[in-house]
Symmetry: C2
Subunit: 988 residues, 2 copies
């Protein structure tokens, strides 16, 4: 159950997706070791400190039964001991009362501060700490005994998700106290990266002390302090906060304050480098300067705040500290250029024009060649197996659905078999040769639309389709080659979100329209029988055995279509079902013979079931139920599972629903043609020249479809190390175009959604999963092997026909509807359309709405809607064949929008085009804007370049991380197994 308040709680914080230690230690070949949890460390320009695990041991039970009990622990967030429930609380943002920080400050100021204490064991440490004047020898002994008392830890078994790999904590070999068994077995140990250190805070009321006793120790060498901390990590910090009962429960809060301070990255950074008490207090004061204060009247201090999705950047805070402490020379850590020679900048080098013919292509080949061996070695990781399974299922589903539709669109000139074969051949070839081997090639909606138009055209003019199509393919390949030669791919920088969204929305709508339309057409094919028709029923009539031939003849004319309620007179009848009747020489009579009852509604039920189930399963992934592994499987395979359930339901009831038609033999679907398409067939020779005209349009389409996908896949947020290959990819697509045309197979381009799913299944993430820290994304396993294996498997699946013929068409339509709905709900345009229906008060707190007047937002949305409407109309008229040109027209419309909207507005609503990007100088944005990211995907791509105090690198880093929020989120699309911009479209 959701609270209204919660629903409106939209955290907007500047996400940081900083590049990690990987930059320094990644070798680029072989399975890279998962790098440690390093959200706070490893940022550009900041030396890395070990992760600190902090534990608060509280002294309870004064005066009767003194015992130490761990009541809180921190890494990034706070976990409290729920005493009653005997469990750790959910990790949450720690909150403090201001006075406890002030009390802590005075305790530290008056207490003992030992920096770089040389103690080698807990005993030594305790001796050092208790060596204060205010304690009598007797009290000192008592205190020492108390401190050495073993604390109570709550050690919980972990959840169901095992963290892979095992940590190797650097155990101090000279430690006198061996860690306890329960410490060693603590599952938390595996979640903390190797090299982590511990900090222990001991606090509590101790009545025999006359005055408070505060001690802060930084050990010179971290030492495992026996059973002090629940995990046997070497301790770096130790803090003692004891005192008489005057403060009461205050010690708990003061202890928490100390622990929270230590868990703050900046304080930790400072205190590791502090050389005296003054530095320590200065660090505390610096912390106080930056705290956020919530007024008591408006915030319940006991409320727990869930960890934000992403943490504020600590980079600037620590960097400023660094400069202060170490002077300008401290910048040594900032790499100007990474190992791979990528100068971070707004557009990657792949999109810089070289000015030479095929210059881009040559560069691409050169760049990729150096990675080629590693493209196979990097695939040696278990994760790749599951990726193959997932993508294989998605590809097969894709091939089935598109194959079925292509067959319909081209009256069998292509079909499921061609779809399987083409997918396998083209996909495998692309994976071997392409610039971006993570791309999955597939039939896509726009190309299917065009193919359908081309087929109608050639049918209308009695052309031989496949030879005509071969020439179109050859011409397209020629044009694409010209585009490669002239480095036209650099123009993709003009494809802004406006264009992407227009393209995507059109395709998604076609998906939805066609799925529903095809479903409804089933109800005409299988009409619903209404009662009260004048004629009704069905029986099997034989020729009159009694030789009454005239009667048989007499009813003959009526047999053609609807038989009225007229008396049939004397007939020789049986009640055999129509097929059986025909077999026995009779003929079925009556309107009900042609109608199959129940099919229409049952098909509708199957359609809705598959759609709703796929939607529901997709949401399982973010629900609270089931272990995360189960959730992930259910979510990732939602469409496959929905399809399986639909098939099961269908075969359980055994009704004669329309099924997928698949060939049972390995031969072209069109009877009588060989695998190679003859170059002319029955067409006149000049048609091979005239084919250049439609080929021009198709080239535009292929270029847009291919390159928009390529831009999305090569976005900086995916942290690809091996670079893109826009020119090489286009070249490969052109080459495959010729091959598939010659063999009469479907045409293929990159498919966005399935490729994103591929990349998502190959994500490398940091291992830490404890204590509320979000796993950080390290990169993608870039290799060629997974794709290759997927397509080889697809090729062997041609022999799946006996299984595939059980798939009912309504189930496929339901999955199509799901894909259309999933794709269209993932774009920002849809969110803005929704805004039109929300009263201003109810609108979510999007950054977009904070910076652009609502009327301007609505105007932009209205223009997009108008463009979409226009595209839809064109697609539905005889002029449909020019629709690739209209898609290109979107770029022009976007350019014209610069006259209507200010650059600032376009920055928030869309993104800037190349020229304009340079036109907004440093002053552009106020700091607040650049600091506040947004959890919704509405951040401007460019927002951060104006931020003061950041080098080009870090601005890029931030920019790229903002980009990740941009238009299509992988997790939204991952279930859409068929490309976002692909469709089973039908131009009417």
């Amino acid at each position: 159950m959701k609270l209204p308040g919660q629903e409106e709680f939209e955290v907007s914080s500047a996400c940081e997706n900083v590049p990690t230690g990987e930059l320094d230690n990644g070798t680029g070949s072989g399975p890279s070791p998962d790098s440690p949890s390093d959200t706070d460390r490893g940022e550009v320009g900041v030396p890395k400190d070990p992760l600190l695990f902090i534990q608060l041991n509280e002294l309870l039970g004064w005066p009767q039964a003194l015992e130490w009990r761990e009541t809180g622990r921190w890494v990034l967030f706070e976990e409290k001991l729920e005493v009653g429930a005997g469990r750790w609380s959910v990790p949450h943002v720690p909150t403090l009362a201001l006075p406890s920080l002030q009390k802590l400050r005075s305790l530290l100021a008056e207490g003992l501060v030992l920096l770089d204490c040389p103690a080698q064991s807990f005993l030594e440490l305790v001796e050092q700490v208790t060596r204060v004047d205010s304690l009598s020898p007797e009290l000192r002994g008592q205190l020492q005994a108390l401190l050495l008392q073993r604390p109570q830890h709550l050690i919980q078994p972990t959840g169901t998700r095992p963290c892979q790999g095992s940590a190797h904590p650097r155990e101090a070999s000279h430690s006198e106290e061996a860690p306890l068994k329960e410490q060693r077995q603590n599952p938390l140990r595996r979640k903390l990266p190797p090299g982590s250190e511990a900090g222990a805070v001991l606090a509590g009321e101790l009545g025999f002390l006359v005055q408070p006793l505060g001690a802060f120790v930084r050990l010179r060498d971290p030492v495992v302090l026996g059973p002090l901390t629940e995990v046997p990590l070497p301790s770096r910090f130790f803090c003692l906060l004891l005192g008489p009962s005057t403060l009461g429960k205050g010690y708990h809060e003061i202890g928490r304050a100390m622990a929270i301070l230590l868990s703050d990255p900046q304080f930790q950074w400072s205190v590791r480098r502090a050389s005296n008490l003054h530095d320590l207090l200065a660090a505390l004061d610096a912390f106080l300067e930056e705290v956020t204060v919530l007024p008591p009247g408006r915030w319940d201090p006991t409320a727990r705040i869930a960890p934000p999705k992403c943490l504020p950047s600590q980079h600037k805070r620590i960097l400023s500290q660094l400069k202060e402490v170490q002077g300008p020379s401290a910048q040594h850590g900032a790499p100007a250029e990474d190992r791979y020679g990528h100068q971070p900048q707004l557009h990657s080098p792949e999109l810089q024009r070289t000015g030479r013919l095929f210059g881009g292509l040559i560069q691409d080949v050169r760049r990729k060649a150096s990675w080629y061996p590693s493209d196979f070695l990097d695939a040696l990781h278990p994760q790749c197996f599951s990726a193959v399974l997932y993508i294989y299922l998605a590809t097969v589903t894709n091939a089935i659905t598109f194959g079925g539709l292509l067959g319909e669109a081209t009256s069998g000139a292509q079909g499921v078999l061609e779809s399987f074969l083409g997918t396998a051949v083209a996909g495998a070839a692309f994976c071997l040769m392409a610039g971006q081997p993570l791309t999955i090639l597939s039939s896509t909606g726009p190309v299917l639309v065009f193919e359908r138009l081309l087929f109608s055209f050639s049918r209308d003019y009695n052309l031989d389709y496949l030879p005509f199509r071969l020439w179109v393919g050859i011409w397209v390949a020629t044009f694409c080659l010209a585009l490669v030669a002239t480095e036209a791919s650099v123009l993709v920088r003009y494809f802004t979100r406006f264009t992407e969204e227009g393209f995507c929305a059109l395709i998604s709508l076609i998906f939805i329209y066609d799925a529903v339309g095809k479903m409804l057409s089933l109800t005409s094919a299988y009409p619903i029988q209404r009662p009260g028709y004048p004629a009704y029923g069905c029986f099997c009539q034989y020729p009159d055995l009694g030789g009454n031939e005239s009667q048989w003849m007499r009813t003959e004319p009526k047999d053609r279509d609807d038989i009225s309620s007229l008396d049939l007179g004397l007939v020789n009848a049986s009640l055999l079902p129509p097929p059986e009747c025909a077999r026995r020489g009779g003929r079925p009579r009556g309107p009900s013979c042609h109608a199959v009852p129940d099919i229409a509604f049952f098909s509708l039920l199957l359609f809705l079931t598959s759609f709703l189930l796929a939607m529901a399963l997709k949401h399982v992934k973010t629900s609270r139920f089931f272990p995360s592994g189960v959730r992930k499987v259910l979510g990732d395979f939602s469409s496959v599972l929905a399809m399986l359930l639909g098939c099961g339901l269908d075969s359980f009831l055994g009704l004669a629903t329309p099924k997928l038609t698949v060939p049972s033999e390995f031969k072209p679907t069109l009877p009588g043609r060989g695998w190679l398409v003859s170059p002319f067939g029955t067409n006149p020779w000049w048609l091979s020249v005239a084919a250049a005209l439609p080929a021009l349009l198709l080239s535009i389409l292929i270029f847009m479809d291919q390159q928009i996908t390529a831009v999305i896949l090569n976005r900086a947020e995916y942290k690809l190390r091996k670079g893109a290959g826009f020119h090489l990819d286009l070249f490969c697509v052109a080459a495959l175009m010729v091959l598939t045309s010659a063999l009469g197979l479907p045409w293929y381009v990159s498919a966005t959604v399935i490729s994103l799913a591929h990349m998502d299944s190959l994500r490398r993430e940091s291992r830490a999963c404890a204590l509320g820290e979000p796993r950080s994304f390290l990169g993608i396993r870039e290799q060629r092997l997974t794709g290759l294996v997927v397509f080889i498997l697809t090729g062997t699946s041609i022999f799946l026909a006996p299984v595939l013929k059980f798939i009912p068409m309504p189930v496929l339509y339901g999955i199509f509807l799901y894909m259309g709905v999933a794709a269209i709900s993932s774009i920002q345009f849809t969110k803005r359309v929704q805004l039109l229906f929300m009263p201003a008060k109810q609108q979510p707190d999007l950054l977009l709405l904070r910076h652009v007047p609502l009327s301007r937002v609505h105007l932009f949305t209205a223009i997009q809607l108008a463009c979409l409407g226009l595209l839809w109309i064109i697609k539905s008229t005889p002029a449909a064949i020019i629709f690739p040109l209209m898609l290109l027209g979107l770029v022009g419309v976007r350019k014209a929008l610069e006259r209507v909207f200010s650059p600032q507005e376009l920055l928030w609503l869309d993104e800037l085009m190349p020229e304009k990007e340079r036109s907004i100088p440093e002053k552009g944005l106020e700091p607040e804007y650049s600091l506040s990211g947004d959890s919704e995907d509405v951040s401007p791509r460019w927002a951060l370049s104006g931020e003061a105090g950041r080098g080009g690198e870090s601005a890029f880093v931030q920019e790229s991380s903002l980009k990740s929020n941009l238009s299509i989120k992988p997790e939204d699309l991952i279930n859409t197994v068929i490309p976002l911009r692909s469709s089973l479209t039908q131009v009417h």
Copy 2:
């Protein structure tokens, strides 16, 4: 789209649902004026201060184009000006940087503080404020001119929800500056209660000042300061914070700090009473003592926190301040007893045993008699009209559905007509006489279950049902009278949540089971035709006209049931539909004649459509779409709308789905009986005595069903002023029992859900709806008229038969399913069952889980599940008739649980039984526990009595507000138009 982080964000804060000013000014008769927004004021023991509207005017544009612009405003929460978007931000919890508070403190300490300044106009005020030594006369003039400059306000039209009523701001008649037109037209004005005051903070950088200028003014008499504030409210506070550019943007933050301070209730309270600078600074320091601090490393300071659902109690904060300032005599405001003589305590006085025969009943009658005139006068409010419409529709739906099921259960001994008539008669009579006239009487599930059992029994033993039933009714009335006489209703205190949930879960499950079962039984009634049957088809056969009589005879025996595929030989046939065929003397032949095609799947579609639509519409209420009025209508009438859509769909397709059968005449459904049931009929005389046995069981059932509902309705969180009438209500139910039994009408008891819906539609709420403040609940319009009108309308609806017969049964089943699902998902038990399927890490942060070990929670859930299973088994066996006893057994099981669980655990999992309540003394709970409420409904009823420093009254107040979170939330149930604990059950 939800973020994972957000979903896990469960605010847990101590809600306060304090009684409001209503206690002081409510007269109890006539439409009470909506009391002002008083979340912060009007609490017990704290004198009320006017609401303060605070505005920050910032000086922008130094040095070229100086202008004042309103950049923030506060009442409870903060609204910032979104400069780019030209709109106010969503209201959010204000956050501050600590240094700005410190800078503010020093500015105030060194600045000018004028308390009780006698200025009567802005001009005078400006003169007073600028009279500081540090300003040269020239600068002073410049500054004065600047201050008098008109500020820029952003005045927005409001949303679509109009706030009722209009405010009458107390305008200072002697003000020299008349408010501007835009100020007067500001829609915000209507949202602030009459008597509100304004506070203006002016801050900014002013380069010609040499040193910062701080001034704080409290006006003796609040004055409208011309165009200074956007709403023309009389200003009480004025604060000026100007200075040279050394602080830069700091003035904005310092100004915000001042405004946030002023918006804090405690600071406001103190500063209204401050007599010098010292008091002012002390108030600021007191504020600082209580602020919550968020560490910079874990919280992005620019993130906006949505207003919590309920604010922390300011009661204690201000009361402690009050004591400090005014000494012990300050307690004058705390009423020991309210106007209505209700001593606040754990159980209301209605449940105190008097010890006299009928003592409780007499007390009830006496108490209610004094309210009787006001019970009609209080209904004179437009809100009551919409309540009547809503509840009428719900009641009619209820009567239709229960009527249909009763007819089935009793083979027509009762039916829809009886249901309408009985509902009208019993409901109206109850509304006129009962102790709690907000209760809506209805057929309920448990009673229906029992009636079905009774009918089966009498049929099995060949008894005359209605006379037998009459005697049962008479005996039940007798037993109930005895219960009233002995004041047995006080035992309801033993009905803890355990019992309520067991009862509720059983009934909900019966709803769900029956809805699905009845739907599936339709598929047997209208079988699905599978292809490939040996026999098939249908035609109309006439007797052989040619006199071939033998053939007609020959096929005769086969006509009986299934006709095989055998040849029929020569037949005289036509293709007329079966009814037409029969009319013309033929007979339909063939298996398809008996099967109606498509009905089964279409019914299933109707069933699912109604269910899913009702569920979806219910959620519209909490969505962001549509204006709130539309949302409320869609949500409130979800089941009615779903039913209408189902009927529309059905009649659009015109298929022969099974429909509701309704009598077309006003006469008993059972043919041949009069309205009065004969006392003996054909039964032997001794049966009238033997009827006492089933009557005993029914009495237990009626008592539990009636009283559990009554307890829920009379919960303290509804702030009912006129008290409950447990004894009187039971007496009325008993009297109506005799009447309905004599007339052969259904039996009626209180229905939880519909009564809660009734109360919800009569909620009185505070008017304030601006600035993020939640509307506060003032009470219910307690009166008898709405119920009475509803039942009179229901009575006249008996003549709706021509309309009702269009309702398809699958639609009704769908609505039943919805009701069952809605009811079962609203109880805590369901949440705990869900916990069983969640990994510990994914579980929501429920208070329950913070305090009770997970294994104990699961054990408790398992025991409840076992009880439920046992009840279900008993219900399904021949022993079903004793199931009321088993329900009572739940109380015993709960008692036994005290041996298994500690009182602390039961406190969180359930609630305590009367004896145990006294057994947990003050020490019980730690302060933290009592402070932290929970947004989920899992707070213990009793949690707060241990809190230190609270009198009995406030503990009660908190206790009752916690109770509101308990088991069934009205908003969850409001859509379930048929009682939660009612059912269309069928005991198998």
